[in-house]
């Protein structure tokens, strides 16, 4: 009876989509901060190569974070 009233598939979707989005964005944004901070440190000691690699990591991670946020807003608009 309860199973017919409650949509278990929808509940499961909420669980995995939330976990994917919440942890995914947190991971991407943390990598952005990591890349930015490490790039600044490497630049300070004059190591251009690693600084560039960390800067690239930061840019990609920021783009992923922004993309996820925009996708989230799109979901709100379509709601």
């Amino acid at each position: 009876m309860t199973g017919a009233i409650v949509d278990a598939g929808a509940l499961f979707k909420v669980l995995y989509a939330s976990m994917l989005a919440g942890v995914g964005v947190a991971t991407a944004f943390s990598l952005a901060i990591y890349g930015t901070t490490r790039a600044a440190e490497e630049r300070r000691v004059g190591r251009g190569g690693p600084a560039g690699a960390f800067a690239a990591l930061a840019v990609v991670a920021i783009l992923v974070s922004l993309g996820a946020a925009v996708y989230g807003v799109t979901l709100v608009v379509q709601k």
Partner: protein, 368 residues
């Protein structure tokens, strides 16, 4: 103006008043973590949330339709029933606001309406499956999911940035919190302003001003509900900001980001499958998850327990208040006298409660 028109006007005013209380009661939850970690100054955070609440109210009308059609039978609803449900919800919101407890305005509204319908027409006019499937189960699941997501997120965050200097890390997460707060505020406006729209439209249908078929929400209802929730957000909420932002746990910016990110993720995921959620429930779960994953004892579980009790009591007690209000109103007949007298008493009580509560000092962290 006839008696039924007068009751309709009172309903609209009461619904918008509820929307204002919803604003200062609920939306503060969205910005509490950003304020407590100093990601945003209080006035800017509240102003931004207010604006995004207003914008969010125009995004969709699906939640309004759910509130208007999902829980009670349309034929059971009269303007007096809607009025009494609103009074029940406002009463419960004021009680939880008085004690600084973040409970759900949405559940209070639905509870008040259900209680009023039961008092007027009996249990047969209430959709048990609608309440269970669309309200109660999501209300239990959502904060648990937010707790798990925020807990996992903060563990991952500390793994990645744990060995870096705290200065740049905190600055980075404060910046991230601006975006996560904005996302939460927008989704809150989408959800909560619509609940008031649903109730006003329900009253308009009962009065015969709007056709029941298709559940069309008039533009003036959308505009006034959006304005009311934005006004409420802008004018209050400091007490609950304090509870949410500092009294559950003391947060660092990374925890604030994880909690808000988890909250936004859960609300958006739930919205995509059509569940109307309480922002209060979700963000509270996220805050506790972000705190417990760092250190279980960091969460003030006693306070968290009080919040949980307030959650569980919201639906039944708002229903009791809504039903009792209908009982009192019906003593004065089916005309406008009951709602008019109840409105007068409610306004007097409201003035007393607000004056008494505002005389108590609020902690510096929450002061504008």
């Amino acid at each position: 103006m006839g008696g039924s028109e007068l009751v309709l006007v009172i309903v609209v005013v009461a619904a918008l008043a509820f929307d204002v209380t919803n604003g200062f009661h609920d939306t503060a939850n969205v910005v509490a973590t950003a304020i407590s970690t100093h990601a945003l100054p209080p006035r800017l955070a509240i102003g931004g949330a207010s604006l995004l609440n207003f914008v969010g109210a125009f995004v969709s009308l699906k939640v309004a339709a759910t509130v208007g059609q999902g829980f009670v039978t349309g034929s059971a609803v009269t303007t007096t029933v809607v009025f009494c449900g609103l009074v029940g919800a406002i009463a419960w919101n004021l009680i939880t606001w008085y004690f600084g407890l973040p409970s759900s305005s949405s559940h209070a509204l639905i509870g008040g309406l259900v209680g009023s319908v039961i008092a007027a027409r009996g249990f047969g006019q209430v959709s048990g499956s609608g309440l269970l499937g669309k309200l109660i189960v999501p209300a239990i699941v959502a904060p648990v999911v937010a707790f798990l997501v925020a807990g996992t997120a903060i563990v991952v965050i500390y793994r990645i940035v744990g060995r870096l200097r705290p200065g740049p890390v905190n600055r980075g997460f404060r910046t991230g919190q601006i975006a996560s707060s904005a996302l939460l505020a927008l989704s809150h406006g989408t959800n909560d302003a619509q609940k008031t729209m649903g109730v006003i439209t329900l009253a308009l249908i009962a009065h015969g001003d709007v056709a029941a078929k298709g559940f069309h929400v008039p533009t003036w209802v959308v505009l006034s509900a959006a304005s009311a929730i934005a006004l409420g957000t802008f004018s209050g909420g400091w007490r609950i900001i304090r509870t949410m932002g500092t009294r559950i746990i003391k947060m660092d910016p990374a925890q604030g980001f994880a909690a808000q990110g988890a909250g936004a993720a859960v609300i958006l995921a739930a919205s995509s499958v059509g569940y109307p959620l309480s922002t209060t429930h979700v963000i509270s779960g996220g805050i506790m998850g972000a705190g417990a994953a760092k250190r279980v004892s960091a969460v003030r579980w006693g306070l968290a327990g009080n919040i949980a009790v307030a959650w569980m009591l919201t639906l039944p007690l708002a229903a009791v208040f809504g039903g009792a209000t209908y009982g009192v109103s019906s003593v004065f007949g089916s005309g406008a006298l009951g709602p008019v007298l109840i409105s007068a008493v409610l306004l007097a009580l409201l003035a007393i409660v607000v004056i008494r509560r505002l005389q108590r000092p609020v902690a510096a962290v929450a002061s504008p």
